[in-house]
Protein backbone atom coordinates (compact mmCIF):
# COMPACT_ATOMS: atom_id res chain seq x y z
CA UNK A 1 0.00 0.00 0.00
CA UNK A 2 2.79 2.34 0.94
CA UNK A 3 4.62 1.54 -2.28
CA UNK A 4 1.53 2.36 -4.29
CA UNK A 5 0.93 5.60 -2.43
CA UNK A 6 4.50 6.72 -3.00
CA UNK A 7 4.29 5.75 -6.65
CA UNK A 8 1.12 7.80 -7.12
CA UNK A 9 2.77 10.71 -5.37
CA UNK A 10 5.78 10.42 -7.63
CA UNK A 11 3.65 10.23 -10.75
CA UNK A 12 1.45 13.16 -9.82
CA UNK A 13 3.71 15.46 -7.87
CA UNK A 14 6.85 15.52 -9.97
CA UNK A 15 5.21 16.70 -13.19
CA UNK A 16 2.91 19.03 -11.27
CA UNK A 17 5.84 20.48 -9.39
CA UNK A 18 7.73 20.99 -12.61
CA UNK A 19 4.74 22.53 -14.39
CA UNK A 20 4.43 25.00 -11.52
CA UNK A 21 8.00 26.04 -12.14
CA UNK A 22 7.35 27.55 -15.57
CA UNK A 23 7.90 31.25 -15.79
CA UNK A 24 7.58 33.54 -18.77
CA UNK A 25 10.71 35.64 -19.14
CA UNK A 26 10.99 38.64 -21.43
CA UNK A 27 14.44 39.07 -22.89
CA UNK A 28 16.24 41.09 -25.53
CA UNK A 29 17.73 39.03 -28.32
CA UNK A 30 20.41 40.77 -30.36
CA UNK A 31 21.00 39.68 -33.93
CA UNK A 32 23.91 41.02 -35.91
CA UNK A 33 23.31 41.05 -39.64
CA UNK A 34 25.45 42.25 -42.48
CA UNK A 35 24.45 43.95 -45.67
CA UNK A 36 26.98 44.56 -48.40
CA UNK A 37 27.37 46.51 -51.60
CA UNK A 38 29.50 45.23 -54.48
CA UNK A 39 31.41 47.69 -56.67
CA UNK A 40 33.15 46.90 -59.96
CA UNK A 41 35.79 49.39 -61.02
CA UNK A 42 37.20 49.82 -64.54
CA UNK A 43 38.60 53.33 -64.31
CA UNK A 44 40.74 55.44 -66.58
CA UNK A 45 40.86 58.53 -64.37
CA UNK A 46 41.95 59.35 -60.81
CA UNK A 47 38.55 60.48 -59.62
CA UNK A 48 35.35 58.48 -59.98
CA UNK A 49 32.08 57.76 -58.29
CA UNK A 50 30.09 54.52 -58.17
CA UNK A 51 26.66 54.33 -56.49
CA UNK A 52 24.86 51.20 -55.26
CA UNK A 53 21.30 51.20 -53.91
CA UNK A 54 20.54 49.23 -50.72
CA UNK A 55 16.99 48.46 -49.70
CA UNK A 56 17.71 48.60 -45.97
CA UNK A 57 14.12 47.70 -45.04
CA UNK A 58 14.31 44.45 -46.99
CA UNK A 59 17.77 43.71 -45.54
CA UNK A 60 16.39 43.96 -42.00
CA UNK A 61 13.37 41.86 -42.90
CA UNK A 62 15.77 39.22 -44.24
CA UNK A 63 17.88 39.32 -41.05
CA UNK A 64 14.75 38.88 -38.94
CA UNK A 65 13.34 36.16 -41.17
CA UNK A 66 16.59 34.14 -41.15
CA UNK A 67 16.37 34.06 -37.37
CA UNK A 68 12.66 33.31 -37.11
CA UNK A 69 11.37 36.77 -36.17
CA UNK A 70 9.34 39.46 -37.89
CA UNK A 71 8.97 43.23 -37.74
CA UNK A 72 6.52 43.03 -34.86
CA UNK A 73 9.25 41.68 -32.58
CA UNK A 74 11.67 44.50 -33.41
CA UNK A 75 12.46 47.02 -30.67
CA UNK A 76 15.67 48.62 -31.96
CA UNK A 77 18.28 48.68 -34.70
CA UNK A 78 21.61 50.45 -35.09
CA UNK A 79 24.82 50.52 -37.09
CA UNK A 80 27.62 48.55 -35.45
CA UNK A 81 30.52 48.62 -37.87
CA UNK A 82 31.56 49.01 -41.48
CA UNK A 83 34.33 47.35 -43.40
CA UNK A 84 35.59 46.97 -46.93
CA UNK A 85 37.77 44.63 -48.96
CA UNK A 86 38.88 43.86 -52.49
CA UNK A 87 37.28 40.71 -53.89
CA UNK A 88 39.02 40.52 -57.27
CA UNK A 89 42.28 42.04 -58.54
CA UNK A 90 44.82 40.54 -60.94
CA UNK A 91 46.70 43.42 -62.54
CA UNK A 92 50.48 43.50 -62.85
CA UNK A 93 50.98 46.54 -60.62
CA UNK A 94 49.27 47.89 -57.54
CA UNK A 95 47.21 51.06 -57.04
CA UNK A 96 46.80 53.31 -54.04
CA UNK A 97 43.43 54.94 -53.66
CA UNK A 98 42.03 57.58 -51.31
CA UNK A 99 38.44 58.68 -50.94
CA UNK A 100 35.21 58.16 -49.05
CA UNK A 101 32.12 56.03 -49.11
CA UNK A 102 29.05 58.17 -48.65
CA UNK A 103 25.49 57.33 -47.81
CA UNK A 104 22.50 59.18 -49.22
CA UNK A 105 19.06 59.08 -47.62
CA UNK A 106 16.09 61.43 -48.01
CA UNK A 107 18.19 63.82 -50.07
CA UNK A 108 21.01 64.08 -47.50
CA UNK A 109 24.48 62.77 -48.24
CA UNK A 110 27.13 62.09 -45.58
CA UNK A 111 30.42 60.19 -45.48
CA UNK A 112 30.18 56.87 -43.66
CA UNK A 113 33.89 56.00 -43.92
CA UNK A 114 37.12 57.32 -45.40
CA UNK A 115 39.95 55.34 -46.91
CA UNK A 116 43.40 56.85 -47.28
CA UNK A 117 46.30 55.57 -49.41
CA UNK A 118 44.70 52.15 -49.50
CA UNK A 119 46.70 49.61 -51.46
CA UNK A 120 44.36 47.61 -53.70
CA UNK A 121 46.48 44.46 -53.57
CA UNK A 122 46.87 44.72 -49.77
CA UNK A 123 43.07 44.74 -49.41
CA UNK A 124 42.60 41.70 -51.62
CA UNK A 125 40.76 38.91 -49.80
CA UNK A 126 40.60 40.91 -46.58
CA UNK A 127 37.83 42.56 -44.63
CA UNK A 128 39.24 45.80 -43.26
CA UNK A 129 37.31 47.44 -40.43
CA UNK A 130 36.85 51.16 -40.96
CA UNK A 131 36.47 54.00 -38.52
CA UNK A 132 32.92 55.26 -38.91
CA UNK A 133 31.93 58.88 -39.52
CA UNK A 134 29.16 60.22 -37.34
CA UNK A 135 27.30 61.99 -40.16
CA UNK A 136 26.86 58.77 -42.14
CA UNK A 137 26.04 56.72 -39.05
CA UNK A 138 23.37 59.23 -38.03
CA UNK A 139 21.83 59.06 -41.48
CA UNK A 140 21.68 55.24 -41.49
CA UNK A 141 20.35 55.19 -37.93
CA UNK A 142 17.65 57.65 -39.03
CA UNK A 143 16.73 55.25 -41.83
CA UNK A 144 16.60 52.38 -39.34
CA UNK A 145 14.36 54.42 -37.06
CA UNK A 146 12.07 55.18 -40.01
CA UNK A 147 11.85 51.45 -40.64
CA UNK A 148 10.89 50.92 -37.00
CA UNK A 149 8.22 53.59 -37.54
CA UNK A 150 6.80 51.72 -40.53
CA UNK A 151 8.59 53.21 -43.55
CA UNK A 152 10.56 51.38 -46.23
CA UNK A 153 13.86 53.29 -46.36
CA UNK A 154 16.26 52.90 -49.28
CA UNK A 155 19.90 53.98 -48.97
CA UNK A 156 22.43 54.76 -51.67
CA UNK A 157 26.04 53.95 -50.92
CA UNK A 158 28.47 55.74 -53.21
CA UNK A 159 32.19 55.47 -53.60
CA UNK A 160 33.71 58.90 -54.13
CA UNK A 161 37.30 58.25 -55.04
CA UNK A 162 39.46 61.37 -54.72
CA UNK A 163 42.90 60.25 -55.86
CA UNK A 164 44.62 57.25 -57.41
CA UNK A 165 48.36 56.55 -57.57
CA UNK A 166 49.62 55.99 -60.21
CA UNK A 167 47.01 57.77 -62.25
CA UNK A 168 45.07 55.28 -64.42
CA UNK A 169 44.69 55.91 -68.15
CA UNK A 170 43.08 54.38 -71.21
CA UNK A 171 46.30 52.46 -71.81
CA UNK A 172 46.58 51.43 -68.14
CA UNK A 173 43.07 51.18 -66.66
CA UNK A 174 42.53 50.30 -63.00
CA UNK A 175 40.38 47.15 -62.80
CA UNK A 176 39.20 45.51 -59.59
CA UNK A 177 36.06 44.51 -57.68
CA UNK A 178 35.48 45.40 -54.07
CA UNK A 179 32.82 45.24 -51.46
CA UNK A 180 31.67 47.38 -48.54
CA UNK A 181 29.98 45.68 -45.59
CA UNK A 182 27.67 47.34 -43.12
CA UNK A 183 27.02 45.46 -39.85
CA UNK A 184 23.64 46.21 -38.31
CA UNK A 185 22.37 44.96 -34.99
CA UNK A 186 18.66 44.45 -34.54
CA UNK A 187 17.16 43.93 -31.10
CA UNK A 188 14.03 41.87 -30.74
CA UNK A 189 12.03 41.37 -27.60
CA UNK A 190 10.78 37.86 -27.04
CA UNK A 191 9.09 35.88 -24.30
CA UNK A 192 10.48 32.50 -23.34
CA UNK A 193 8.82 29.95 -21.08
CA UNK A 194 11.57 28.55 -18.90
CA UNK A 195 11.76 26.25 -15.91
CA UNK A 196 12.95 28.21 -12.89
CA UNK A 197 12.30 25.50 -10.33
CA UNK A 198 13.52 26.82 -7.00
Amino acid sequence: MMKRTLAILAVCMVPLALSGCYEDKVLDIVITGETSAEFSQNETSEQWTNPVIINIAQEIRDILSRNGYDEGDLTGAHVTSASYGVTSFSQAHDWEISGAITVTYNGNTQAILNYTSQSVSAALGKKTSASLESGGVDLINAALQDFLDGSDPVLTLTINNGSTTPAPSVGDPMIFDWRAWLAIQVIVSTTASVIDPF
Partner: protein, 316 residues
Amino acid sequence: MLAPFRTFRALMVGCALSVCLAGAAGAGGADSAVKDQVSLYTGSNAVGYLQPLVNAFGATLNSSFSYSAYIPTSSFHVSLEVPVMGVIFGDKDRTFNATTESGFQPSTSATVPTVVGDGNSVTVPGNGGAAYSFPGGLDLHSFGLLVPQLRISSIAGTEALVRWAAYDDKGSDFWKLDLFGIGARHSISQYMGEQPLLDLAVGALWQSFKVGKNDRGGDFSKTDALLLQVQASKRAPLGFMTFEPYAGLSWEKLSTDLDYDDTNGDPVHLKIDGQNDMRFTFGAGLNFVAGQLWADYSLANTDTFSFGLALGNVGR
Protein backbone atom coordinates in the same frame (compact mmCIF):
# COMPACT_ATOMS: atom_id res chain seq x y z
CA MET B 1 4.89 -9.50 -8.28
CA LEU B 2 2.03 -7.48 -9.73
CA ALA B 3 2.20 -4.62 -7.26
CA PRO B 4 5.94 -3.91 -7.68
CA PHE B 5 5.52 -4.09 -11.45
CA ARG B 6 2.73 -1.52 -11.31
CA THR B 7 4.82 0.60 -9.02
CA PHE B 8 7.77 0.60 -11.40
CA ARG B 9 5.55 1.18 -14.40
CA ALA B 10 3.90 4.11 -12.65
CA LEU B 11 7.27 5.58 -11.81
CA MET B 12 8.44 5.12 -15.39
CA VAL B 13 5.38 7.05 -16.57
CA GLY B 14 6.10 9.74 -14.00
CA CYS B 15 9.67 10.09 -15.17
CA ALA B 16 8.64 10.12 -18.81
CA LEU B 17 6.06 12.82 -18.09
CA SER B 18 8.68 14.88 -16.35
CA VAL B 19 11.00 14.64 -19.31
CA CYS B 20 8.14 15.51 -21.66
CA LEU B 21 7.30 18.54 -19.55
CA ALA B 22 10.86 19.68 -19.78
CA GLY B 23 10.55 19.28 -23.52
CA ALA B 24 7.39 21.34 -23.56
CA ALA B 25 9.22 24.07 -21.69
CA GLY B 26 11.89 24.01 -24.34
CA ALA B 27 9.34 24.31 -27.09
CA GLY B 28 8.04 27.39 -25.30
CA GLY B 29 10.99 29.37 -26.53
CA ALA B 30 13.83 29.04 -24.02
CA ASP B 31 15.69 26.63 -26.27
CA SER B 32 15.66 28.79 -29.37
CA ALA B 33 16.25 31.88 -27.24
CA VAL B 34 19.47 30.42 -25.88
CA LYS B 35 20.54 29.36 -29.35
CA ASP B 36 19.81 32.83 -30.75
CA GLN B 37 21.66 34.55 -27.93
CA VAL B 38 24.70 32.32 -28.25
CA SER B 39 24.71 32.86 -32.01
CA LEU B 40 25.82 36.46 -31.46
CA TYR B 41 28.86 35.34 -29.53
CA THR B 42 32.01 33.52 -30.47
CA GLY B 43 35.07 32.52 -28.47
CA SER B 44 35.51 33.84 -24.94
CA ASN B 45 32.26 35.82 -25.04
CA ALA B 46 30.26 32.64 -25.69
CA VAL B 47 32.14 30.86 -22.91
CA GLY B 48 31.47 33.68 -20.44
CA TYR B 49 27.82 33.89 -21.45
CA LEU B 50 27.17 30.18 -20.97
CA GLN B 51 29.60 29.34 -18.12
CA PRO B 52 27.05 29.62 -15.26
CA LEU B 53 24.66 27.28 -17.04
CA VAL B 54 27.42 24.79 -17.84
CA ASN B 55 28.58 24.94 -14.22
CA ALA B 56 25.05 24.36 -12.95
CA PHE B 57 24.48 21.61 -15.46
CA GLY B 58 27.66 19.82 -14.44
CA ALA B 59 27.14 20.30 -10.73
CA THR B 60 23.63 18.90 -10.84
CA LEU B 61 24.45 16.12 -13.27
CA ASN B 62 27.14 14.86 -10.90
CA SER B 63 24.79 14.89 -7.89
CA SER B 64 22.71 12.13 -6.28
CA PHE B 65 25.07 9.37 -7.38
CA SER B 66 24.67 7.77 -3.95
CA TYR B 67 22.90 8.39 -0.68
CA SER B 68 24.31 5.48 1.34
CA ALA B 69 27.72 3.89 1.58
CA TYR B 70 26.19 0.62 2.70
CA ILE B 71 26.39 -2.00 -0.05
CA PRO B 72 25.65 -5.62 0.94
CA THR B 73 28.29 -8.18 0.06
CA SER B 74 25.92 -10.38 -1.88
CA SER B 75 22.13 -10.11 -2.38
CA PHE B 76 19.67 -8.84 -4.99
CA HIS B 77 18.44 -5.27 -4.66
CA VAL B 78 16.90 -3.05 -7.26
CA SER B 79 15.51 0.46 -6.99
CA LEU B 80 14.12 3.00 -9.39
CA GLU B 81 15.07 6.46 -8.26
CA VAL B 82 14.00 9.99 -8.99
CA PRO B 83 16.63 12.43 -7.81
CA VAL B 84 15.95 16.15 -8.11
CA MET B 85 19.14 18.20 -8.26
CA GLY B 86 19.32 21.94 -8.09
CA VAL B 87 21.50 25.04 -8.07
CA ILE B 88 20.55 28.51 -6.87
CA PHE B 89 22.34 31.14 -8.93
CA GLY B 90 24.23 33.86 -7.09
CA ASP B 91 24.96 37.45 -8.15
CA LYS B 92 28.36 36.41 -9.52
CA ASP B 93 26.63 34.11 -11.99
CA ARG B 94 24.49 36.87 -13.47
CA THR B 95 27.11 38.98 -15.24
CA PHE B 96 30.41 38.56 -17.05
CA ASN B 97 32.95 40.78 -18.74
CA ALA B 98 32.40 40.71 -22.50
CA THR B 99 34.22 42.38 -25.38
CA THR B 100 32.62 43.75 -28.53
CA GLU B 101 32.84 41.66 -31.71
CA SER B 102 31.98 42.10 -35.41
CA GLY B 103 34.72 44.67 -36.10
CA PHE B 104 33.24 47.20 -33.72
CA GLN B 105 35.57 50.15 -33.05
CA PRO B 106 36.98 50.79 -30.56
CA SER B 107 37.07 47.33 -29.02
CA THR B 108 35.16 47.85 -25.75
CA SER B 109 34.66 45.67 -22.69
CA ALA B 110 31.53 45.82 -20.56
CA THR B 111 29.82 43.97 -17.74
CA VAL B 112 26.84 42.28 -19.38
CA PRO B 113 24.28 39.59 -18.56
CA THR B 114 25.12 35.92 -18.73
CA VAL B 115 22.55 33.43 -19.94
CA VAL B 116 21.04 33.41 -16.43
CA GLY B 117 21.30 37.19 -16.01
CA ASP B 118 18.97 40.10 -16.58
CA GLY B 119 16.80 40.05 -19.71
CA ASN B 120 17.70 43.56 -20.88
CA SER B 121 20.40 44.05 -23.47
CA VAL B 122 23.39 46.30 -22.73
CA THR B 123 24.53 48.80 -25.38
CA VAL B 124 27.93 50.53 -25.53
CA PRO B 125 28.79 53.51 -27.79
CA GLY B 126 31.55 53.39 -30.40
CA ASN B 127 33.25 55.60 -32.97
CA GLY B 128 31.12 57.92 -35.04
CA GLY B 129 27.88 57.18 -33.24
CA ALA B 130 27.97 53.43 -33.84
CA ALA B 131 26.74 51.19 -31.03
CA TYR B 132 27.14 47.58 -29.98
CA SER B 133 24.52 45.66 -28.02
CA PHE B 134 25.10 42.61 -25.87
CA PRO B 135 22.08 40.30 -25.48
CA GLY B 136 20.09 39.79 -22.31
CA GLY B 137 19.78 36.57 -20.35
CA LEU B 138 16.91 34.36 -19.29
CA ASP B 139 16.75 35.88 -15.80
CA LEU B 140 16.97 32.49 -14.10
CA HIS B 141 17.21 32.21 -10.34
CA SER B 142 17.78 28.47 -10.26
CA PHE B 143 18.48 25.42 -12.32
CA GLY B 144 17.07 21.97 -11.72
CA LEU B 145 17.56 18.57 -13.21
CA LEU B 146 15.45 15.49 -12.70
CA VAL B 147 17.02 12.28 -13.91
CA PRO B 148 15.55 8.78 -13.60
CA GLN B 149 18.08 6.22 -12.48
CA LEU B 150 18.09 2.49 -11.80
CA ARG B 151 20.31 0.95 -9.11
CA ILE B 152 21.07 -2.78 -8.95
CA SER B 153 23.18 -4.58 -6.35
CA SER B 154 25.12 -6.50 -5.27
CA ILE B 155 27.88 -8.85 -6.30
CA ALA B 156 30.99 -8.90 -4.11
CA GLY B 157 29.87 -5.70 -2.46
CA THR B 158 29.47 -3.93 -5.79
CA GLU B 159 26.44 -2.14 -7.23
CA ALA B 160 25.66 -0.64 -10.62
CA LEU B 161 23.70 2.49 -11.49
CA VAL B 162 22.23 3.45 -14.86
CA ARG B 163 20.80 6.83 -15.83
CA TRP B 164 18.85 7.16 -19.03
CA ALA B 165 16.44 9.63 -20.57
CA ALA B 166 15.66 10.35 -24.21
CA TYR B 167 13.25 12.67 -25.95
CA ASP B 168 13.06 13.84 -29.54
CA ASP B 169 10.44 16.35 -30.66
CA LYS B 170 10.43 15.77 -34.39
CA GLY B 171 8.32 18.89 -34.85
CA SER B 172 10.89 21.14 -33.23
CA ASP B 173 13.99 22.36 -35.00
CA PHE B 174 15.81 22.27 -31.68
CA TRP B 175 14.42 20.08 -28.96
CA LYS B 176 16.10 16.73 -28.37
CA LEU B 177 17.44 15.08 -25.21
CA ASP B 178 19.67 12.07 -24.92
CA LEU B 179 21.13 11.17 -21.55
CA PHE B 180 23.03 8.04 -20.70
CA GLY B 181 25.04 7.43 -17.57
CA ILE B 182 26.58 4.40 -15.99
CA GLY B 183 28.29 4.04 -12.65
CA ALA B 184 29.52 1.50 -10.17
CA ARG B 185 30.30 1.56 -6.44
CA HIS B 186 32.22 -0.89 -4.32
CA SER B 187 32.00 -1.40 -0.59
CA ILE B 188 35.28 -0.83 1.24
CA SER B 189 33.79 -1.44 4.68
CA GLN B 190 33.27 -5.12 3.82
CA TYR B 191 37.03 -5.43 4.28
CA MET B 192 36.94 -3.68 7.67
CA GLY B 193 35.65 -6.52 9.83
CA GLU B 194 32.25 -7.72 10.96
CA GLN B 195 31.10 -4.47 12.58
CA PRO B 196 32.84 -1.53 10.88
CA LEU B 197 32.44 1.83 12.60
CA LEU B 198 31.21 3.36 9.38
CA ASP B 199 30.10 2.11 6.01
CA LEU B 200 32.58 3.16 3.37
CA ALA B 201 32.34 2.94 -0.43
CA VAL B 202 34.14 4.18 -3.51
CA GLY B 203 32.52 4.75 -6.88
CA ALA B 204 32.71 6.23 -10.34
CA LEU B 205 29.99 7.66 -12.57
CA TRP B 206 30.29 8.54 -16.26
CA GLN B 207 27.53 10.37 -18.14
CA SER B 208 26.89 11.67 -21.62
CA PHE B 209 24.14 14.21 -22.20
CA LYS B 210 23.20 15.59 -25.61
CA VAL B 211 20.77 18.50 -25.82
CA GLY B 212 19.27 20.18 -28.86
CA LYS B 213 19.88 20.18 -32.57
CA ASN B 214 21.89 22.76 -34.47
CA ASP B 215 20.99 24.18 -37.88
CA ARG B 216 22.97 21.39 -39.55
CA GLY B 217 21.04 18.63 -37.77
CA GLY B 218 23.90 17.76 -35.41
CA ASP B 219 24.02 18.05 -31.63
CA PHE B 220 23.81 21.63 -30.31
CA SER B 221 25.36 20.58 -27.00
CA LYS B 222 27.17 17.40 -25.97
CA THR B 223 28.34 16.99 -22.40
CA ASP B 224 30.58 14.35 -20.91
CA ALA B 225 30.84 14.13 -17.12
CA LEU B 226 32.96 11.99 -14.84
CA LEU B 227 32.72 11.67 -11.06
CA LEU B 228 34.98 9.75 -8.68
CA GLN B 229 33.73 9.50 -5.11
CA VAL B 230 34.58 8.27 -1.63
CA GLN B 231 31.59 8.12 0.69
CA ALA B 232 30.96 7.25 4.33
CA SER B 233 27.62 6.74 6.04
CA LYS B 234 26.18 5.30 9.25
CA ARG B 235 22.78 3.73 9.69
CA ALA B 236 20.87 4.15 12.95
CA PRO B 237 17.42 2.70 13.81
CA LEU B 238 14.59 5.25 13.92
CA GLY B 239 11.24 3.61 14.61
CA PHE B 240 10.33 1.37 11.67
CA MET B 241 12.94 3.13 9.56
CA THR B 242 16.64 3.75 9.70
CA PHE B 243 18.20 7.19 9.70
CA GLU B 244 21.43 7.46 7.76
CA PRO B 245 23.66 10.55 7.73
CA TYR B 246 26.33 10.49 5.04
CA ALA B 247 29.25 12.50 3.70
CA GLY B 248 31.46 12.17 0.68
CA LEU B 249 34.42 13.67 -1.12
CA SER B 250 34.38 13.69 -4.92
CA TRP B 251 36.53 14.70 -7.85
CA GLU B 252 34.60 15.64 -10.93
CA LYS B 253 35.17 16.77 -14.48
CA LEU B 254 32.70 18.04 -17.02
CA SER B 255 33.17 19.18 -20.58
CA THR B 256 30.53 20.59 -22.90
CA ASP B 257 30.97 20.86 -26.66
CA LEU B 258 28.75 23.38 -28.40
CA ASP B 259 28.23 23.31 -32.15
CA TYR B 260 26.16 26.09 -33.71
CA ASP B 261 26.10 28.71 -36.44
CA ASP B 262 26.78 32.37 -35.68
CA THR B 263 24.51 35.12 -36.97
CA ASN B 264 26.40 35.13 -40.28
CA GLY B 265 25.75 31.42 -40.72
CA ASP B 266 29.37 30.44 -40.05
CA PRO B 267 29.81 27.28 -37.94
CA VAL B 268 31.17 27.77 -34.42
CA HIS B 269 32.55 25.02 -32.24
CA LEU B 270 33.15 25.71 -28.56
CA LYS B 271 34.39 23.59 -25.70
CA ILE B 272 33.46 24.74 -22.20
CA ASP B 273 34.73 22.99 -19.08
CA GLY B 274 32.72 22.99 -15.88
CA GLN B 275 34.51 24.82 -13.07
CA ASN B 276 33.79 22.23 -10.39
CA ASP B 277 36.64 19.89 -9.55
CA MET B 278 36.35 18.85 -5.90
CA ARG B 279 33.12 18.66 -3.93
CA PHE B 280 32.24 17.80 -0.36
CA THR B 281 28.76 16.40 0.12
CA PHE B 282 26.85 15.95 3.33
CA GLY B 283 23.30 14.76 3.80
CA ALA B 284 20.97 12.26 5.36
CA GLY B 285 18.49 9.63 4.32
CA LEU B 286 15.54 7.73 5.68
CA ASN B 287 15.43 4.06 4.76
CA PHE B 288 12.03 2.38 5.01
CA VAL B 289 12.25 -1.15 3.58
CA ALA B 290 10.39 -0.29 0.37
CA GLY B 291 12.51 2.68 -0.43
CA GLN B 292 14.57 5.59 0.69
CA LEU B 293 14.23 9.35 0.91
CA TRP B 294 17.35 11.46 0.92
CA ALA B 295 18.56 15.04 0.81
CA ASP B 296 22.06 16.44 0.62
CA TYR B 297 24.10 19.56 -0.05
CA SER B 298 27.40 19.76 -1.91
CA LEU B 299 30.05 22.41 -1.29
CA ALA B 300 32.04 23.16 -4.44
CA ASN B 301 32.79 25.98 -6.85
CA THR B 302 29.09 25.69 -7.71
CA ASP B 303 27.14 24.52 -4.67
CA THR B 304 24.38 22.01 -5.30
CA PHE B 305 21.53 20.49 -3.39
CA SER B 306 19.67 17.33 -4.19
CA PHE B 307 16.85 15.28 -2.81
CA GLY B 308 15.03 12.26 -4.03
CA LEU B 309 13.04 9.14 -3.65
CA ALA B 310 14.18 5.59 -4.30
CA LEU B 311 11.57 2.88 -4.66
CA GLY B 312 12.54 -0.77 -4.52
CA ASN B 313 13.80 -3.35 -2.09
CA VAL B 314 16.54 -1.08 -0.80
CA GLY B 315 15.68 -1.85 2.82
CA ARG B 316 18.61 -4.04 3.59
